[in-house]
Symmetry: C2
Subunit: 121 residues, 2 copies
Amino acid sequence: MTDQLSRVFAALADPTRRDMVARLTEADHTVNDLAAPYDVSLQAVSKHLKVLEEAGLVTRTREAQRRPVHLEAEVFDLMTKWIERYRRQAEERYSRLDAVLARMQDADDPSSTNPQEGTAS
Amino acid sequence: MTDQLSRVFAALADPTRRDMVARLTEADHTVNDLAAPYDVSLQAVSKHLKVLEEAGLVTRTREAQRRPVHLEAEVFDLMTKWIERYRRQAEERYSRLDAVLARMQDADDPSSTNPQEGTAS
DNA sequence: TCCTTGTTCAACCAATGGGTTGACAACGCC
DNA sequence: GGCGTTGTCAACCCATTGGTTGAACAAGGA
């Protein structure tokens, strides 16, 4: 699981991390800040942030002792590109299927005596 | 990690599973069929399919001994909705930031001697 | 300089994930 | 009824993950 796309999906597979990302869309946050709402140790949150960072979803800069966390929303594109590509492909396939079914219905014209087996869903 | 969104993200965090999904956008496949290109046991592929199924990404119907695997592309919407929501929010934030920066540049205008603070709406 | 605040590192633990092999269930075909 | 095909279940192995606690580091502020 070394490729970035995998890392991004994996990073967002955790509800806590998704929530962090959600909150980061509104404003940058420090680690303490981010950790506040969750019932886990600060270190656990730090680990989550590392995961998000390695996925390229956030960056951190130094600012005195604080390490403000900043969302890098461009990475979302990686996912949407992948998803949209295959969604579109799947939809095209369905329309082809619709066409096939339409043709079958033509062939199944009730004036024909053939039984209509095999098409049951 | 019980919610569906988490399961979908987790399911797609694996390159093999993503490849399966990609291939399933073109046509339904049997398990053997799906397994062919990968250098893992049939059982491993069966496990991957279980993950995809529990995420709601595929369904399987009985058909003699075969269990054709079918992609359920609607689940993609779950992800795109989530992603797009926060992407949009992040973009809005950036435009607000741009506005702030623009105002700061105004304030920094060298022709003006007195700083125009407090003019933010 | 020492203290406080903010954050990470290290070591550990239990649970999960992806892989294996071996057994077996379901079905169609002689 | 027996046989091959197709697929799943079960048990196991090892690496990774998400959590813990305790110690350490980094950078002001007193």
